[in-house]
Symmetry: D3
C-alpha cells in the first residue's frame, strides 16, 4: 500500500477526536485517548467498536484498518506486561504487530453532546432532554419525556427494536402495562445512579449491568412511591453501541475535506458476552407472584 | 393464639441456627444473625426466603409467621433511621409492628457443608466436590465433575430445570455444543472469583450477577486456552434459593422433638427483580458472529 | 383517642423542625433528622430530651407522646440489627411498638441562632456574642463578655444555679478568685476546640466532657500566659439541656395556629450518667499544692 | 556536687527500668523510655510522678533530682519545636537546662505485674485477679472478686479512702445500695473496654475519664442485664498514682547495692486538672428520677 | 557578655523573619519557624547555614552565636525524645545547653522572592524568570532564558564557579556541546517536577538529589524530543547555600537601625555528606557509548 | 533465519529463569517476569542489561537478540497506553515490532544466592557473608568482613576498579584514612536500610542513590558512634551491573545441553544517566572543614 502525501496521519485523527471528545471531560478514574500507534502513521481505514476484543482486532485487521476507535478502554487498569500470556498482552501485541492504532473515548464520549447518553435517549424516542446528574462537573446520563405515554412493555419493545440484537435481550422490571412518560437513561453500568434517577421523577430507568442487590433495593424503594421508576436493562454493549454510527459521521465531518478518501466502518462483532438464554419470560408470560 | 409452655422460643431457634451456621464462619464484612425480635418471644411458624423484601414480610405476616429467616442481610450497610420514609425503615417497622423476628444466614450459610454452594453443586449434578477457593479461612464455592461429559446447552438446560423459574432465565456464554465435564459453582455474585475458576480447571463456571467487563475479560482470557471456562449466569436469587428446602429440614432436625409443632415454609415470592425479557436468544438461534 | 382532621401530622412537625434547624447545617459526620415514625402519623404530644434513653422513651410513653425530639442521635453509628438484645435495638423496638416517632437535631441545633451554643451563653450571662470557631462553614460555640468582671468561683456558682442539678456538678480548673470577663462556651464535649478558645482571648472556657490529657495540656499552655483560660466543665447533659425550653416555644411558634392543641413537654429525666460523687472539693477547700 | 565513681549512671537506672517494664510490652502507639538526658550522667535523686508537668519539673529541680520518672509520656505526639513558646517546649527546655533526665513507663507499666492495673486492684481490695483483656498480646486491666459483697456506695467509699484526694472526687453511676462483688479495674481512660468488662461478669467497673456518650451507652446496655456493671470514675491521676510507691521500692530493689545512696521521692503535686467542684451530690442525696 | 537594653530580642528577629518568609507560605507538610529558644532572649550574633548539623551547632557555639537560622528543619519528623542517644536529641540538647536558638525557613524560603529559587536562577545567569510550577498556591522553582545560548558543558562550568565547592561536584546528563538557552531551576531535590520542566520548554533542568530511576526515565522521555531537557545535579547543599548571603543582608535591612550592633555570619561548614569521589569523568572524557 | 526443531523456545528460557529466580521471592510491590513476547517464539540470542532503555533495545536489535533480560522492570508502574508518544510506549512498541521478548528479574534477583547482593559483596572482597536484613521473608543485602582492614580510600579504590566506569564515579563519605573491616552492601537504592546497617556493626555501607537528607542524617548518627558506618555510593547502575556476567553463565548452565547453540551477551550500554561531572574532589583533595 503506497503512502501518499494526502494521507491523513494518526495525529490528524487524534486531534479531531479530541476536539469532539476533549480529554479533560473524562472522569478522573478513566483512561482515555491513544492506546497504541505512532502519531505519524497514516490512517486510511478506521474501525469503530464498543470493546477492543481480540475478535474486533482480528476483524479490523481483515478489513485493513489502520485505527480502531472503541468506547471501552483496553487498559483501564494499568498493565505490567504485554506478553501474549494474557489477553490484554495478546491484544496489545496484535495491534502493534499489525500496525493498528487504538484510540478510546469513554466517559468523555458519555458526557459529550451528542454522545453516548444522547444516542440512547434518541433510541428511546426522547427529545428535549437534560442531564440526569452532574459528576465531576460533567453532565452524565439524560432525562426527558416521551411524546406520549406508553405502556412499559410497549416502551421496551420499541427500544428493543432500536438496539442491536444480543442473546441477553432486554430485561424489564415493572408491570407490562405500567405507564411510562418520563425516562432516565444512562448507557453502560447504571448501579450507582439510582438516587439521581429518583430525583429526576422518571417513570423508567434505562441502563445496563444492574446487579441483584442494587436493582432489588431500587424496586423496594420504588414500592413506597407507586412502583416507579421501573427498570430496563438494555445490555451494556447494546446500549452503548448506538453511539457508533453517529461517531462515524461526526468524525468525517470534523476532519473535513482531508477525510475524502477515509473509510470508516462500524464493527459487526457483538461483544456482549452472552451467547444464549434459557427460560427467559416474555411479557405475556409474566408471573403474578411478585407481590 | 394461646402460648403454651411447650412453645419454642426465638432463643432456641437462634441457638440451633448458630450451631448449623456458626457466626464466626461469616466473612468479616458480612452482617449475620438476629436482625429483629426478642429472644423470649415464642416461635411457631418460620418463613424462609432469599431476600427480606416488603413482599416477603407481607407474605410472612399473612402466613402468621413469627420468624423470617433469609439468606441476604436486611441491614448489610448500617442504618441511621428506621422511619418509614425508606424501604429499609419500612421493613424494620413492619417486622416490629407485626412481632416478626428476622434472622439472616449469609456467608456463613455459603460456606457451610451442606450450604448454599453445595445446594448449587447438587443442582448441577456434581458429586465429590471440593472448595473452589479459601477466603478468610472458609471454603467458598465448589468444584466437581459431572458423571459424564455434556454439551454446554444440555448442561444449562438440566440446571435450568432444577432452578425456580425467573423472568431472566439462565444466561450462557460459550458454544451450545461445547463439552462440559468439570464444573465450578458459586452461588450469588461471582465476578471476583475468575482466577480461582481458571486455576480449578473447570470447563464451565456457574454463578450469577456477572457484569459486562468481568465476563468479557474472562471470555477473552478463555480464548487463549481453547474457550473454557464457559459461563453460566443462573440468576442471583435462583442460584441461592436452592438452599432453602434443605435449610427447612436441617433446622427441624437440629431442633429435635421441640420442633414437633413447628411449621416451616419456604416463601413463594420470587425476589429476582426482573419481570420479563424481550428478545433473548434460545440456544438454537445463537448467532455466529461472535468471532 | 380519635384522630381529627385538624391534627398535625408528623410531616408538618418535621417540616417546621427543618426550617428551624436545616439538615444541611449539620456537620458531615452527624446523623440528624427523623429516626423513627411515619410522616402521616398524627402528632398531639411532643416530648423533648437531650438523650433518647430507654427511660426517656418510657417517660414519653407514659405521657402519651407521639414524638420525641432529642439533641443526641440515637443511631449516630449505623446499626445492623434492631433485636432487643442490644440497648439500641430495644430503644428502636420500644419506639415502634408504641408508635412514638423520634427526631434528632444535633449539630444543626448547636449552630442555630438561637441554638444550643446561644442557650449556654445566656446561662453564663453573656450578651453580644460571636462564634467561637467556624467548622465546615458553620458557626460553632460562642464567645462574649460578662457585663462586669467576676471571680471564677462566683462565675461558676451563677452558672451552676442556671443549670439543672446533676450528681456530677460543675468542675472548675483555676483559682477561686481568678478574674473572669471574657467567656468562651461550647455545649457538649469541648476537647477539640482549645486552640480556638486561646485565639478568642477568653478568660474561661465553659464546656463539658473534658478528659485528663487535653485538660491538663490546656492548663499547662495556660500557665505560659498568666493562667487563663480557666476551665469549667458544666456537664454534657446539663450544658445542652438548656436549649430544650427555647426549642419548645420556637417550635410552637413555627407551627403557628396549627399547634393550638399541641402539647410540648420537656423531659424530667436527667440523662447524665452519674448518680453520686464522693469527696469532691468545694471552692473553699481547694488545696494549694497544685504548683 | 562532686561526682564519685560509686554514683549510679542514668544508663544503670534505665537498664533497671527496662528490666522491670520491658519496652516491647508497650502498646504500638505508645512512646515510652528515655525522653531527655545523657546515659552517662550520674543519678543520685529520683522523682516519681504521674505527669511531667512544669510544676512537677520545678518540684524536682527544687528537690535536686537528676531524674524524673513519670507514667505519662511528655511527647506522645511528636514535636517539631522545643522553643519555650509552647508548654512542651518549655518543659523540655527546663529539663535540659537543669540537667534533669526524664523517663516514661506508660502502657508497659500498665501491663506489668505488679503494675498500674495491679495497684488499682489492690486499692479496691481485690485478690486473685486475672487480666481484663488482652491487647496486642499484653494483659490490660484486672478482674477479681471482693472477699465479701459490698454496697456500691460503701465500695466506692473504701476506694476513695485509698486514693489521693483530688478536687474531682470519685464519681459513681449506680444505686448506692447496689451489690458489688466482682470488680473490673483499668487505670486511666477506660472508654474503650466496656465490651471486655461486660464479658468479665463484673458488677462494677473502676476506671477514669469516662465521657458522657460511652458511659451513658454502657448504662443503657446494663439496664438490659439488671443494672450491672455499675461505673466508678476514680479520676485519671488518682487511679494511676497508686502505682508510684511500689515503683519506688521495686526500682531500689532492682538496682541492688548500687542504690545504697540513691534517694527516691514521690511527687506531692496533684496533676489532676480540677481545682474545685460545685454542687456534686453525695450518695445520700442521690435523686430518684433517673428512671 | 553584658546585656544592654538596646539588644535585639529573639522576638524581634523572629518577627522580621516572618515578614520576609511568612509561615503560611510554607508547604503543608513542612515544619518551619522557631525550633528552640526563648522569645525574650537577646540576639547579638546570628549564624546562617543550610543544615542544623552538630558541626554547625558547634561552629555557632565557637562563634558565640545566639541564633542559628537554617534552611532545612531539624525536626521535620516529630520527635518523641531529646535524649542524647540520637543525633536529633543531641542537637536539641546542645542548642538548649548553649542558649542557642534555632529558626528554620524552608519551603517558605523556597517560594519567597527573592528566595532560594531566585538565588539559584541568578547563579545560572537567568533574568526575567517566572515560576516553574504552582504548588499549594505557591510559586516553586524558576524558569528563564540565558542572555545567549551556551554549550551544556560551558553552562555547567559557569554554574560550578558560582557554587561553593563540594566533593560531589556538579553532575551533568547530556552532550557537552548540547545547546542550552532556556533553563529551569529548583533548589534541593527535584525528582518530582519533571512534568513541569517538560511543560516549561526548558533545555536544561538544574536541581539536585536526582535518583537513578527518575533521572533515567526523564532522559528516555527526552530522547523522544531531541534530547532536551538535559539535567544538571548541582548538589542539594550547594544549590541551596546560594540563598544564605542574600538572607544575611535582607535580614539586616529588615531589622533596620536595631540591627546596628548585630553580627550575621554564614557558616563555613559544608554539610554536603560526601568527602571525596573516585573516577568521576570530566566533560572531555565523556564516553560515547550512551546510545 | 531458519527455525529448527532444536531451537530453545522462550518457554524454556523463562522456565530456567524462574528456577534460578523464583517469582514468589520478589517483593510484593515488584513486577517481575515476562514483559513482552510469546512463549512459543524461538530464542537464539539473549542480551543482558541493567535497564531496558531504548538504547539497550536498539543494541539488542542490532545484535539480532530474541530476548532481553534486565534487572529493572520496564513497567513497574502499570501503563495505560503503548502509543509511541511516551518512552515506555516506544520501548514496548520497539520490542514487539522487532520480535524481542523482555524478561525482568529484579528483587527476586537481589535476594537470590548468588544474586545481585552477592555479586556486589564479591566485588568488595567479602567472603562468608550473611544477610543484611530480612524483608518480606527474603534475605536482602549482605554483610561480611574483609580479609584484613583497609583504609577507606583504598577500599573504595579497589571497589572502583571492580565496577564498570561511569561518569558519576564512586562517592565516599568518611575520612580517607578511616579503617574499614566490616562491610554492608546493598545494590541499588539504599536509603531505607540504615537501621539494619547500624545494627550490623558495619564500618562502611556500600550502596547507591543516597540522597542528601538520609545520608546526612546517617552521618550525624554515625558521629555519635565514632564516625562509622562510612558511606560509599557506588552508583545504581554500576552496583547492579556486576550481577550480569554471573547471570549469563548460570543461565547457560541451567539450560544444559539445549543451550549449546545459544549466544548470551552483556550489553555495552552504560545506563547510568550521568555523562560528566565538574569539580568532583579526589581523596587527596578532601577539604578539612567538615567538622
Amino acid at each position: 500500500m503506497t503512502e501518499t502525501t494526502d494521507d491523513l496521519s494518526l495525529r490528524d485523527v487524534v486531534a479531531a477526536l479530541e476536539r469532539l471528545y476533549p480529554l479533560d471531560t473524562a472522569q478522573s478514574w478513566d483512561r482515555v485517548g491513544l492506546v497504541s500507534g505512532d502519531l505519524d502513521q497514516p490512517v486510511r481505514r478506521i474501525h469503530l467498536a464498543v470493546d477492543p476484543t481480540l475478535a474486533v482486532i482480528e476483524e479490523a485487521k481483515q478489513a485493513g484498518a489502520d485505527l480502531v476507535i472503541t468506547h471501552h478502554p483496553l487498559l483501564l487498569r494499568g498493565i505490567h506486561s504485554v506478553a501474549t500470556t494474557t489477553a490484554k498482552g495478546a491484544a496489545v501485541t496484535e495491534l502493534i504487530v499489525n500496525d493498528i492504532a487504538l484510540y478510546c473515548a469513554h466517559t468523555n464520549a458519555d458526557v459529550a453532546d451528542p454522545g453516548v447518553g444522547q444516542a440512547l435517549a434518541e433510541a428511546c424516542g426522547l427529545s428535549g432532554t437534560q442531564a440526569l446528574e452532574i459528576t465531576e462537573g460533567q453532565e452524565l446520563g439524560r432525562v426527558g419525556d416521551l411524546p406520549e405515554p406508553l405502556g412499559l412493555a410497549e416502551f421496551a419493545r420499541r427500544l428493543h427494536e432500536a438496539l442491536p440484537r444480543t442473546a441477553g435481550g432486554v430485561r424489564v422490571s415493572g408491570p407490562a402495562d405500567g405507564t411510562v412518560r418520563r425516562v432516565a437513561v444512562l448507557g453502560g453500568a447504571g448501579d450507582s445512579s439510582f438516587e439521581a434517577v429518583r430525583a429526576s421523577g422518571a417513570d423508567v430507568y434505562v441502563t445496563a449491568d444492574l446487579r441483584h442487590h442494587p436493582a432489588l433495593e431500587a424496586r423496594e424503594e420504588a414500592s413506597l412511591t407507586g412502583g416507579t421508576p421501573y427498570l430496563v436493562d438494555a445490555g451494556h454493549f447494546a446500549s452503548e453501541s448506538l453511539w457508533l454510527p453517529g461517531l462515524a459521521s461526526r468524525l468525517v465531518t470534523e476532519l473535513g475535506p482531508a477525510a475524502a478518501r477515509l473509510e470508516v466502518h462500524v464493527s459487526q462483532v457483538r461483544t456482549d458476552p452472552w451467547d444464549f438464554v434459557l427460560g427467559a419470560a416474555a411479557p405475556e408470560h409474566t408471573q403474578g407472584d411478585h407481590a
